[in-house]
Symmetry: C2
Subunit: 521 residues, 2 copies
């Protein structure tokens, strides 16, 4: 157990902060609620961005960029939207600073109309689309934006809930309600597939209840993940906005039948909170565990030597293994780079073989082991004088935690991706098993209350009213995470048919089926 990390059982929130600190992922900033994403954390985000961007483009989307600022009056145009977003947002009221005469500064140049720092961009993008769309021939518009957004959150938590965060927001406009719904569902599927295959986070797909819906949406779909403390994390949402924003911003077009109609729009987003989800799905009391697909470094080779004579031979041996893994060309290119003085960093674009050779002098091997381990590196290869003699290497895997002596000849360019692939699958399966073991049906309100103390997802009947939902939330802090898409869900007690009608145990009213209750981040 790492001494710098509080065990989960002792203090889960502190464990989370300790893992972030030990993993060098992020830091607090001098601005309340804003975080600094450090290089290792940002490396994870770059891999998330790359993986999603490929998927967005394969589904026909292109990227664009819209303004950071939104005129205050825009927020008022969509009634539900203003309720959801205008109340807590950063408001720009001045265009400069001037000396205040006491050695400090004060705002000057009051704006005629205040500007809001975008909490989300439906309004300003809606305004632009109204200019771009005249005819059905201009549809669909399939645009995504990578951006920062600001929401004035009072209680913030690194990655999970910050005042400013990085995200992507897709905004599409369509000719028909059917196409719009198809797009909303398609992007939810893209998110779910990405969460499972890249982040190794199993997710439930479903629809949000009315009270949890995006402000201005007709329907909000979500992917929900279970963290290790049994709480839910909303990992991504996809909104069918119907014609609400098209009406508010007049996105209208001449249809194939020569009629003037409003477009149908969607929006969908995931954010840097996914990094919080990765941490809380996979890591343990020793610190960060990263799924290989989003690990900035998948394999660190650490040479071990004491005397100068040893150093030269061990480094040559370590380099030989590096070449086996990544090819002579990539290694030579890295060696030629100015940026590789201490850590020889091999990056093969579009390839999983992100390998480093840790050449740092003046750092002892155990400290290097610790360095890579704390950063969640999936595989470490240790080579010392004895390994050189025997032609072996010590291969240490982060999950499952294993040490294994391997013949160095076996460490090939095929071995590495296939080992990573196995680890990726193992992590996903472990998380899936965890979720199943912590998901169960409950049939009485008392059962739900008691069960919530242990954490988990609970399938319970619900009468479909916001009143019952609100009552449960007030009394238990649990919310309906989603009305699941699947007809049946796996639980610790076997498969449960969630479509079977029953009675809401809270209201005593009839229920069309079970929904997923949980406390959440």
């Amino acid at each position: 157990m790492a001494k710098n990390i509080t065990p989960r059982a002792d203090d889960y929130p502190q464990w989370y902060l300790d893992v972030i600190k030990a993993g060098d992922l992020a830091d607090r900033s001098p601005v309340r609620g804003c975080m600094v994403i450090k290089p290792h954390g940002f490396g994870i985000w770059e891999l998330i961005q790359g993986g999603l961007d490929r998927r967005f483009k394969a589904t026909g989307h292109t990227n664009a960029y819209f303004p950071l600022f939104i005129p205050q009056s825009f927020l008022a145009k969509e009634a539900a939207h203003v309720e959801g977003f205008a109340m807590e947002c950063a408001v720009v009221t001045h265009s400069g600073l001037e000396q205040d005469g006491e050695g400090g500064l004060k705002p000057k140049g009051k704006l005629e109309e205040p500007l809001v720092v975008r909490p989300t961009s439906e309004t300003v993008i809606g305004h632009m689309y109204s200019n771009w769309v005249q005819s059905w021939r201009d549809l669909p518009i399939l645009i995504n934006q990578w951006a920062n957004v600001v929401r004035w959150e009072m209680r913030t938590r690194l990655f999970l809930r910050t005042m400013e965060f990085l995200w992507q927001e897709g905004h599409t406009a369509h000719e028909t309600a059917e196409e719009c719904e198809e797009e909303t569902r398609r992007m939810l599927d893209v998110y779910a597939e990405f969460a499972e295959n890249a982040l190794a986070i199993p997710v439930l797909k479903g629809e949000k209840t009315e009270s949890e819906r995006f402000a201005g949406a007709d329907r909000t779909y979500c992917i929900e993940a279970m963290m290790q403390d049994g709480k839910a994390l909303q990992a991504g949402t996809s909104h069918n906005l119907g014609q609400n924003f098209a009406r508010a911003f007049d996105i209208s077009f001449q249809s194939r039948e020569q009629k003037q109609e409003h477009a149908w729009t969607t929006s969908w987003g995931v954010s840097t909170r996914l990094i919080g989800g990765i941490i809380m799905t996979h890591s343990d009391d020793d610190g960060l565990i990263l799924p290989p697909a989003v690990a900035p470094v998948v394999c660190a080779i650490v040479p071990i030597y004491r005397k100068e004579g040893e150093k030269e031979n061990v480094l040559a041996y370590a380099r030989k293994i590096l070449v086996q893994l990544c090819g002579e060309e990539a290694v030579a290119a890295a060696e030629a780079g100015i940026g590789n003085r201490e850590i020889l960093n091999i990056v093969l674009p579009g390839d999983s073989r992100r390998v480093v050779l840790d050449l740092r002098d003046g750092m002892r091997p155990p400290d290097k082991f610790f360095h890579w381990e704390q950063r969640g590196t999936p595989i470490r290869i240790e080579v010392g004088p004895r390994d050189l003699e025997s032609g072996n290497a010590m291969v240490v895997s982060r999950h499952p935690r294993e040490k294994q002596v391997m013949e160095s000849g076996a460490l090939t360019s095929d071995w590495l991706p296939s080992t990573l692939e196995t680890m990726q699958t193992t992590l996903l399966e472990r998380a899936r098993t965890f979720r199943i073991q912590n998901t169960r049906s409950v049939d009485t309100y008392d059962d739900l209350k008691a069960a919530l103390e242990d954490g988990g997802f609970f399938l319970m009947h619900w009468d479909g009213t916001s009143e019952t939902e609100a009552k449960i939330q007030t009394e238990t802090k649990a919310t309906i995470r989603c009305i699941p898409f699947d007809d049946a869900l796996e639980t610790v007690n076997g498969t449960v048919d969630v479509r079977e009608p029953g009675i809401d145990p809270v209201s005593g009213q009839p229920s069309a089926g079970r929904v997923v209750f949980a406390r959440s981040y």
Copy 2:
């Protein structure tokens, strides 16, 4: 000549706007001074980002992310910096909006200390580095940030000068003044190499005079490009900040000699203004010309058919050519993608072969030709029934403007990159020739004044004082673009030795050498 584009000779600024509109690169936004970067314009930016990011990583930098907001008091800490940036910036004073009782909204929740939307991030990053640096072992820090920044500009121009813009800002900290200077120069070299090889924009490298220096820097280096109207565009800057920000934010460390010392820092940046530079370096009266390295689509295949029977055969023939260019695997993958209903879009990551097959029905071939031409697509391949019969294709190149019948068998996966390479070089050489032809020595102030009316770079002696510089700027609107690094510069009258001492014709005082005067964007 395209009817929707004003000729350069008639109205250069209008031509620039027309090219942007016809090329579908950007649009005005409802927020004064902010622009919308449309998908085609953003595609160029993505290629710029990719090319620079690779170069930054090869020189040892990693990406990170710092807050959008900066506490007002931070800006006051570096005396020169506050003068340069605090006066024109967006100031956040409130944390929300509320109903104003008249159907509108008004700001609520006044902040104790206003926040400034970052105009650049030296201050907040300096604050973080002071926490991260304790010992010489923590140095160097080599971080880059891709971000949006806001400067309250009064006169804005799409891409060239906007209130919000996208950029990257590198921020590094070093042990010694020598390392710091080395880094500052290295990154300028990276910018220059990128401008020439990727953007096909030849640049002059040099140092800014004191009055043009970054607010808070000891030395500012720049790359300067010449636009087609003879004006200069500052395309990138690299600043040696000395110990100024380290002192203001207390970035100090224990040295190898156990002394407490301030770090030496740099910053360097390029922005979306590079897209303006690309437009004004290469495009002509027919519209956009893009260097292949930053063209989102390098080759568009347009099938020509009238009758249904023709369509099938022509499409099969066009597909065959597409497969020759990109390989069956990539084409089949694109065809399987949901996003390729109308334009089959082949993107091979890290490859120059970004090719489309334009399958749009209900659009006449000449309209398709126009569509791709206006977007600056380097190569167009037209195939119709007659080409099918003869086994040929019409290959149309954007620059030089050529039409050429080629055997379809010659359109191979080698032919395309090599043709693009040639076009890339041709564009760079054309721009270099243009610059040389519009660069000359001037020896009298009257000569300078007269010459400035035609535009161009003028090498003139300067006495090294800010007074003379200011006088020239006031009287002629020309500024010293840089004190060039090169000892000699090529001009229309041959090579000029800029280090030869002489007399400043404006002040009559001695001059250590010639500097580059021009009007600029």
